[in-house]
Every structure is written in structure tokens, then in C-alpha cells.
């Protein structure tokens, strides 16, 4: 097992208030790690730390280290890091342009000069990997705002794939979706782990058990337990974990 990301003694603060406390987690390559936990337990903060999206927030402070392939992410160029570590938000937010442009936006933005045919290949490949190709291949030039929520979310996945990241962070990607769309997004996630390392934050216990290899349970800024998904759900070691997965709180 190769550890893609190593988190060492990470603590995060907003306005000096601690929201994540001395966290140690290893994230294995080509696996899905899900993070579950009730609202406000610091899951989003954790993800946003991994690709440094929180660097924009002046109230945010961090201690500890995160290593990607052995190198500290806080010493890396921020844009390069984000190309390697893509992030998908809870609300699908397509950019206000066509489906095609949404996907080609990032490669173009990153000043990779591409011929039209190369662009077509990237767009098709990204949409196929996100299991969206068949649904939109006839209307690539229509506005991305007009497709359904589930399709938008998969479009956002495709958009990330077009930059060819190594890790994809999903922040409650299905919280606004109906069960059928959810199933489709989960399906594409399982497809994706062959090529990518995935961290999935979810407030849906069943989703964690369905798709992930490893599961971590966060509670009030602390990592309560992390284990192989089958083991954690069958025989949780901590009382709090058991209460949470059996639905006694949260």
C-alpha cells in the first residue's frame, strides 16, 4: 500500500477557535477514503486544507504538516498543488458557459496550447470518465446551466478530470441529489479510483459503506476512528462510532 497523502499532527483554527485537533491520517493511493461525521465536525475544513483553498481566508490558521508524495504541500506552488489535488464542492457550480467550454476551460486557462482535435479528445475522455458522455454528447454547446443537478455535478467532476489530477476531493457531492443521480455519481467514483486517489466527505453513512475502502469518523474536530470500511461498519472500536453508524445521533 502506497500512502499518497500523509497528514501529520494537523490542527486548524478559524478566528483562533480550534475546529480540527491534532489529526493524523494517511490516505492510500488508488483507494477511496470516506470521511463521515455530523455537521460542523470539520470535514470541509480538512478537505479545504488539503488543496489549500482556505489560504484565501484571513481568519484561518493551520498548524502541522501535510505531505503529498513525501513533499510538504505548504511549500509547493499553490496553483500546481490544486492541479494535482482537484476539489468538488457540495453544490454543483458549473461555470457560466457551455458544457464543452466548462471542461476545456481549465486546460486552456493553464495555458496548455491545444489544437481543436486535441480539445475534442480531452472533452470526450473527461465526460466518459465522469459517466456523462452519453447523456450530453449531442448538446455539448448548450449552456451548462440548463442540465439537471446530477448532470451538473458529474460535469464538475469531468471538469476536474480534464486537468488530470492525482487526487480528487469530494465534499458531500450528493447532498443535493436524488437517489438515481446519487447512484450515478457513486458509480463514476468507483470507476475513478482506478486512476485517482479519492477522498469523499459524506454525511450519508450508507454512502460511505457502499463506495469506500477506508472510512474515517470525525466528531467535533477530532478523528474518532479510522479503519477499513468493512471492519469499521461491522465492528467499530469506539462507542461514538457505533452510535453514529447505527443512527443514534447525527
Amino acid at each position: 500500500m502506497v500512502d499518497k497523502i500523509k497528514v501529520k499532527n494537523l490542527s486548524c483554527y478559524y478566528n483562533k477557535k480550534c475546529v480540527l485537533e491534532s489529526l493524523d491520517i494517511n490516505i492510500e493511493q488508488n483507494k477511496i477514503l470516506s470521511i463521515m461525521g455530523p455537521a460542523n465536525s470539520g470535514k470541509t475544513t480538512f478537505l479545504r486544507t488539503l488543496n489549500r483553498m482556505n489560504d484565501f481566508n484571513v481568519n484561518y490558521l493551520r498548524k502541522g504538516e501535510v505531505y503529498l508524495d513525501g513533499y510538504s504541500i505548504f511549500c509547493m506552488n499553490m496553483e500546481n498543488l490544486r492541479k494535482r489535488v482537484g476539489m468538488l464542492f457540495a453544490m454543483p457550480i458549473p461555470l457560466p458557459m457551455s458544457i464543452y467550454e466548462n471542461i476545456i476551460y481549465a486546460p486552456k486557462c493553464l495555458n496548455i496550447i491545444l489544437s481543436k482535435s486535441e480539445q475534442n479528445i480531452i472533452v470526450e475522455q473527461a465526460l466518459r470518465d465522469a459517466s456523462l458522455w452519453d447523456e450530453v454528447k449531442d448538446r455539448l454547446n448548450s449552456s451548462a446551466m440548463k442540465i439537471s443537478g446530477g448532470q451538473q455535478q458529474r460535469l464538475c467532476i469531468a471538469r476536474i478530470l480534464a486537468v488530470n489530477p492525482e487526487i480528487i476531493l469530494f465534499d458531500e457531492p450528493c447532498s443535493g441529489l436524488d437517489p438515481i443521480s446519487t447512484a450515478k455519481v457513486e458509480e463514476s467514483m468507483i470507476e475513478l479510483k482506478r486512476k485517482y486517489t479519492i477522498v469523499l466527505v459524506t454525511n450519508n453513512v450508507k454512502q460511505a459503506s457502499r463506495v469506500s475502502d477506508k472510512t474515517a469518523f470525525f466528531l467535533m474536530g477530532k478523528l474518532v476512528e479510522i479503519n477499513k470500511t468493512d471492519e469499521l461498519f461491522v465492528s467499530p472500536k469506539k462507542k461514538q462510532t457505533e452510535d453514529y453508524i447505527t443512527g443514534r445521533f447525527g
Binding site: 496553483e79 500546481n80 490544486r82 464542492f89 457550480i93 457560466p96 486557462c109 464538475c156 471538469r159
Partner: protein, 286 residues
């Protein structure tokens, strides 16, 4: 009781709305009436493309081409100066400046918008006019170029304020989405923020142009007010508005000259109307 009040307020608002429409239409009719009686005696095409404006000679000529070119030159020059600076200022204010600086800048810009154009003219005469004369070594500093610079100062606040609004209203989520894909700040500004804010920025520029075309005092004071076709932007020019303003006081009522000035007014009205209409189209598109 409440119902009555609602009805009264609604009617009042409706009346105000109707009033403004009636005003615009009456202005148009008024201008049109005077102008049309001018065109009975004087060929419209000759009026528009005539090179000479000799309203007081024995055989008067009413060609407004020099003043159309004058208006165009000054307006165009002012845009070239004002638009890039204004858009970049707007970007700085809404995207880069720290919060304290932003608030100060915003109020300063709004204050700038309140400077009357006569005062701009004064400042121009004392500063830019001698500077241009000296720097380019030309006989007079009262040129289209000078006018452009001063007018640019005049419309910049308008463009900055409206573009800033447009830029500021681009949702943070779009920017975050771009950042998450590894875009730099500049790439995000260029590819997302400017693209999204473009209709608003264009509308801001069009409103600025509308104001430029109609501007009178400052241009009269600093463009030299000479009704000849200029060879370059460093020649004195006269604009349509300046023609009306400087001659209306001396003209004999109901003479051909008097009506000719109204005809210029009509041309101006049509131009500003078109410009504002285009601005509106862009704002609507948003």
C-alpha cells in the same frame, strides 16, 4: 383602508412613470418640429455632410460635418484614455484592494463624479492646456486631445462605479471553482470575472459615451471651439453641443440659423438615444 393607500401609491408611481415618458416624447416632438421646418429649406444630406458652417454669410451654409467629427474625435479620444484606466481601477477596487482601501477609494470615486463640468474645464485650462501646448510644441493647447483628456477624467468615475458593481456581483463560487482547478488569480480575473462582468462593463462604457456626446461646458472651454475639419487630434475642434451653446444666445428667433441649431439638437438626441439604447440592451442581457 390599506387597500386605498395601495391604490393611491400605485397610481402615483404609475403617473410618475408616465410623466417621464411624456417628457421624453415631448422633447422629441419639440425638437423634431423645429428641425423639420429647417429641412424644408435646407437639404438634409447637405446639412449632415456639409464641410462649412457659415450661418451668418449672405448665402448661409449649414454643414455640420466638422462638428460631428469634432464630437466624434473628442468622444473617441476620451474613451481610449478612460476605458482601460477605469476598468483596471474597478478591478483593483473590487478584486485586489484591501477592505479599508476599497471603501476609501469608492467614496473618492463617487466624489469625483460630483465635480461639475465647468470646474473640470477650469482645471483643464490651467493645467492640461498649457502642458499640451508646451509638450507637443503646437500653437495652441486648446485641442481635441486636451478635451479628450479632461473628458476622460469626467467620465471615469461613472465607468468605474458601474463596472465595479458588475465585477463585484460575479459570484464568489465561480471564482472558487476556477481556483480549485488550479487557475491563478490573474487567470481567474481574466477568464471568469471579466467575462461574467462584461455586459455590465460595456453598459458602463456606453453610459459614459452617452455623457460624453452630450457634454458641453468643458469641451467648449478647452477644445478651441473652431468649426473646421481638424487634420489631427492636436487641432482645435468644435463639438455639436458647443455649437448650440455658443450660438443660441445671439441667434435671431425663427431664423434659419435658429432652426439649424435645433436640427443639431435633434441629431444629438438621436445619437445619445441610440447609445443609451445599446447600453440598455447590454444591461438587460445580464
Amino acid at each position: 383602508m390599506k387597500k386605498n393607500k395601495d391604490v393611491i401609491i400605485e397610481t402615483a408611481i404609475f403617473m410618475c412613470g408616465m410623466l417621464s415618458i411624456i417628457f421624453v416624447i415631448s422633447i422629441f416632438i419639440f425638437l423634431f418640429k423645429e428641425a423639420i421646418s429647417f429641412f424644408w429649406d435646407y437639404n438634409f444630406i447637405k446639412f449632415l455632410i456639409g464641410k462649412n458652417w457659415y450661418p451668418n454669410s449672405n448665402k448661409p451654409l449649414f454643414g455640420i460635418l466638422p462638428t460631428i467629427i469634432g464630437s466624434f474625435l473628442v468622444t473617441f479620444g476620451a474613451c481610449v484614455v478612460a476605458v482601460p484606466i477605469a476598468v483596471m481601477s474597478a478591478l483593483y477596487i473590487s478584486e485586489i484592494a484591501p477592505k479599508g482601501v476599497r471603501n476609501i477609494l469608492k467614496s473618492l470615486v463617487e466624489l469625483m463624479a460630483a465635480i461639475p463640468s465647468v470646474v473640470i474645464g477650469f482645471i483643464g485650462i490651467r493645467t492640461v492646456v498649457p502642458f499640451v501646448k508646451f509638450f507637443f510644441n503646437i500653437p495652441t493647447g486648446l485641442t481635441a486631445f486636451t478635451g479628450s483628456i479632461m473628458l476622460a477624467c469626467m467620465i471615469m468615475p461613472t465607468i468605474i462605479t458601474i463596472s465595479e458593481d458588475a465585477i463585484h456581483s460575479v459570484p464568489w463560487e465561480y471564482k472558487e471553482g476556477a481556483f480549485a482547478l488550479g487557475a491563478t488569480k490573474w487567470q481567474t480575473v481574466r477568464r471568469i470575472v471579466l467575462k461574467e462582468a462584461r455586459p455590465g462593463i460595456i453598459a458602463a462604457v456606453m453610459l459614459g459615451i452617452g455623457r460624453l456626446v452630450g457634454e458641453t461646458m468643458a469641451v467648449m472651454m478647452i477644445t478651441g471651439n473652431s468649426a473646421n475639419i481638424p487634420d489631427s487630434i492636436f487641432d482645435p475642434v468644435r463639438t455639436m453641443t458647443a455649437t448650440i451653446a455658443s450660438e443660441m444666445g445671439e441667434v435671431v428667433r425663427d431664423s434659419a440659423h435658429y432652426k439649424a441649431l435645433f436640427a443639431i439638437g435633434l441629431v444629438l438626441f438621436v445619437i445619445t438615444f441610440i447609445v443609451n439604447f445599446i447600453a440598455d440592451l447590454f444591461l438587460r442581457k445580464k
